[in-house]
């Protein structure tokens, strides 16, 4: 027992000593990885971010021959984990997870975001996308998106729309949608989709805005209704093939798809970076990985839209896009000096 233990303790020590002695040399890059890799997920275990990261980690572990260990670093809406990812030693042994919220919208919705998504990271690739959509209670009096819009315009402030908190993707989706149709509903704010769907089912609120990954199951069970799936190409999502798109509903500009991806801190040795990117790329070609993603409500993006360079483009594009949305909506945070009533 003791002997086995010593061996177990000493083996990684010896391996690490070896790794240290050759660190920074080209040899290190060729033999990368020589020990386990940490993947920082800036949210608690159990959510879509965590689960998708674990699916990636599982494949990468097999592919790279060293375990990829998830480290959930929650806090400050994802900024704590992002900061740790940015400051990690750029040796490839620490990588991170980011999505449209943490690595694009946060620039405009978080005061003093401690990293710059357009500069501080070497991206590895987007592994999953999931379109946004509008959902309502089951007995909401609209058969399609046109009727929804007409009803919303008639109701105005009487329309009760739930979202998942200031600056959340759910909130931003609402801002975009109601901005485009020129309606200002009454917002009812909840802590997450779980609470929202409860009050949708009880009829306390009329509707909400969210991602397919969150709402898919309840839509498929028919306990809530879906409108205007906001796919970028205007085609129906295979995640929810029965739900009409925003294009079909006459609102073609309502296009939002969330992406989830991996990054490394800036400044990795080129061969190490290449090896990590290759592992991500291979994972996305794997049929089993694709199926698992489908099960959690997301699809692997088409080959042209998931590479590392494309990811940086998308990050840059979305940072600008959400900055405009937030600016147009008068800021997610209201002006400090609100006249008191």
């Amino acid at each position: 027992m003791i002997r086995g233990l010593t061996r177990r303790l000493l083996a990684p020590l010896a391996a690490a000593a070896l790794a240290l002695s050759t660190l920074g040399t080209p040899a290190a890059a060729q033999t990368f990885p020589e020990r386990s890799i940490t993947l920082i997920v800036p949210f608690a275990a159990g959510g879509a971010s965590d689960v998708s990261s674990r699916i990636m980690a599982e494949f990468m572990t097999k592919y790279l021959g060293q375990s990829v260990v998830i480290e959930n670093v929650a806090g400050a809406g994802g900024a704590t984990g992002g900061l740790r990812g940015k400051n990690a030693r750029p040796d490839g042994y620490t990588i991170g997870f980011g999505h449209m919220g943490t690595h694009a919208a946060a620039v405009s919705t978080t005061a003093k975001l401690p990293y710059d998504p357009t500069k501080d990271f070497d991206y590895l690739g987007i592994h999953l996308i999931t379109p946004h959509l509008m959902i309502t209670r089951k007995d909401f009096p609209a058969a399609n998106l046109q009727e929804y819009i007409a009803y919303a315009k008639a109701q105005g402030k009487g329309l009760k729309i739930a979202h998942n908190g200031a600056g959340s993707l759910s909130h931003l989706t609402c801002v975009v949608f109601f901005g485009q149709i020129g309606v200002e509903p009454s917002y009812v704010v909840y802590r997450g989709y779980g609470q929202v769907v409860n009050d949708l089912m009880s009829g306390a609120v009329d509707g909400s805005c969210d991602l397919i990954a969150s709402a898919r199951n309840h839509v498929m069970q028919g306990v809530i209704k879906a409108y205007g799936v906001a796919t970028v190409n205007g085609e129906r999502s295979k995640l929810l093939p029965d739900a009409p798109t925003s294009k079909e509903g006459g609102l073609p500009d309502f296009k939002i798809e969330s992406w989830l991806g991996l990054y490394a801190p800036k400044g990795l040795p080129a061969p190490v970076l290449a090896r990590l990117r290759e592992a991500v790329a291979k994972a996305l070609e794997d049929a089993e990985v694709q199926k698992k993603f489908l099960d959690i409500g997301g699809v692997v993006p088409p080959a042209a839209d998931r590479g590392a360079d494309r990811m940086l483009e998308i990050v840059k594009g979305d940072v600008t896009r959400w900055a405009e949305v937030v600016k147009k909506s008068g800021g997610i945070e209201p002006p400090k000096e609100e006249p008191k009533k």
Binding site: G75, A79, E333
Partner: protein, 500 residues
């Protein structure tokens, strides 16, 4: 009815398979061992151990996860009784009389009663789930934000009963807890509140951090000052099982606690958190001699523990039938189900009857195993108290540090816990109690969110509390309790009830 038995039989045929049985056992055991570490409650335990269940088949994984949950819950009660550190909001109540019992050399009785009460409550709640899950689903949807707000107000009123000393000071602590719950980014507007420009605490402060600080570390500091008090705990071991008299005293509290817990657990939005508090208040009210409460009354352990476990169990109903997670633990369960491509919701019953009934059967088996694991362990836990305090408290410090760090993998949380330890120490010196503060902290956030949701839905009209009859009823009840408390006649009696 025959259908009911068919379902139960199907469930047991799944759960009693050798593999699932051993997974259930393993889950309960690991859950207990991790949950018993001070500072590590069920949420922390599950999020730490969730990855262990990601491999394997769906049924086995979920059975193991459920086992971890029950184990962690019971482990948390053990820590609350032995070292006065609650691992989660619901075991705050257990510290009140459970730890007093331990100090009197009755730790074995307290632990044994907690296990028995939990088992009874778990059995009843499992039957409730098996027989009534589907009809009860509708019930959860009757509660609108206005009603929840009223429920929280009533809950905060009940919290006053937790006070051992001055009522004014207890109310001040509840309010301080509510104030602390508002720290962080405002959910509705995104404004930073009481962070004083410190972004790191934007997401608010974790319950475990506050509980570990004001309960755990403050308790250590108090013990270090008075060596006499701490040695009492370890010198007298006493009986390992409750006496016949203690059983007799506990039966009705367990039954009432089970009913309360089973009911409150159904409510999404963490209604179960109120269950132990409500049970404690009721038992204290009904007791012939309320002054025993807070000084080692076994009813104060039995009732709340039953309520806690029943609530923990029926909280599965909204999850399994609606796909709605009523609390943080159930949200983790959804994550675990998703990774196995299981869709929580009505379809699980029709499409995966084996899984649904297998899980229900394993819930009961899990409760049974907890009893089997824990009754023999009681002796071991109690013997742990024999460890000299000069070695015990550094061990607690290390376990707490590792536990708190592991919740968010963030050293800042560990540091904050030290800060709250100092706060707790000052509170002790000023004769403020920590239990009402923690309840205020837990309910405060819900209270504000539900109020703002209710007002947003009614577009600013306070008449919404008149229109929602459940809310109106509960607010009226709260008002009546206040009036009765303020009447001169009862005041005299309350003084004797609440003051030392």
């Amino acid at each position: 009815m025959p259908e009911f038995f068919d379902n139960i039989a199907l469930g047991f045929s799944v759960a009693l398979g050798m593999k699932n049985l051993s997974l259930c056992f393993l889950g309960c055991l690991i859950g207990t061992l991790i949950g018993v570490l001070p500072g590590v409650g069920p949420v922390a335990t599950i999020s730490m151990l969730l990855p262990l269940t990601y491999g394997g088949d769906p049924i086995g994984s979920l059975i193991m996860l459920a086992g971890i949950y029950y184990g962690a819950q019971y482990g948390g009660s053990t820590t609350a009784i032995l070292v006065n550190i609650p691992g989660e909001a619901t075991s705050v109540v257990t510290t009140l009389d459970g730890h007093q019992m331990a100090k009197q050399g009755r730790a074995g009785a307290a632990l044994g009663m907690a296990a028995i009460a939990s088992f009874f409550a778990g059995t009843v709640a499992t039957l409730v789930i098996a027989g009534l899950a589907v009809p009860l689903t509708k019930f959860a949807l009757l509660f609108k934000p206005a009603d929840y707000f009223a429920l929280m107000v009533l809950g905060l009123m009940l919290a006053v009963v937790l006070a051992r000393g001055s009522i004014i000071k207890a109310i001040a602590m509840i309010l301080l807890g509510v104030l602390m719950s508002t720290i962080g980014r405002d959910l509705v507007t995104g404004d930073e509140r009481l962070t004083f420009g410190w972004n790191e605490i934007d997401d608010g402060i974790d319950f475990a951090v506050v509980a570990m600080g004001v309960f755990g570390f403050a308790e250590i500091l108090r013990n270090l000052e008075s060596p006499e008090a701490r040695d009492v705990v370890r010198q007298r071991i006493g009986r390992l099982l409750p006496t016949a008299r203690e059983f007799a005293q506990s039966i009705m509290p367990i039954v009432r606690g089970t009913g309360l817990g089973a009911f409150l657990g159904l409510l999404p939005g963490n209604g179960a958190v109120l269950a132990p508090f409500a049970s404690y208040s009721i038992e204290k009210k009904l007791a012939d001699d309320p002054s025993r409460f807070g000084r080692g009354a076994i009813e104060g352990v039995a009732g709340p523990e039953a309520a806690n476990n029943a609530g923990a169990q029926t909280a599965f109903i909204p999850l399994l039938t609606l796909g709605i997670p009523p609390n943080a633990v159930m949200a983790l369960m959804i994550g675990a189900m998703t990774i196995h491509n299981l869709v929580p919701g009505p379809e699980i019953l029709t499409k995966q009857p084996k899984l649904f009934w297998g899980m229900i059967a394993s819930m009961w088996l899990g409760n049974l195993m907890l009893l089997v694991i824990n009754l023999p362990l009681v002796g071991l836990w109690v013997r742990l108290l024999k460890v000299p305090y000069r070695l015990m408290f550094p061990a607690i410090v290390l376990f707490c540090c590792i536990g708190i760090y592991s919740i968010g993998n963030n050293p800042l949380d560990v540091f904050l816990t030290a800060v709250f330890g100092l706060v707790g120490y000052i509170l002790i010196k000023l004769d403020f109690e920590a239990a009402p503060l923690l309840l205020g902290f837990v309910l405060g956030r819900l209270l504000e969110e539900k109020l703002r949701q209710a007002m947003a839905i009614s577009q600013g009209s306070v008449w919404t509390f008149w229109d929602h009859k459940i809310a109106f009823g509960m607010l009226t009840m709260t008002g009546l309790i206040l009036i009765i408390a303020a009447l001169p006649g009862t005041r005299q009696r309350r003084e004797t009830t609440f003051s030392d």
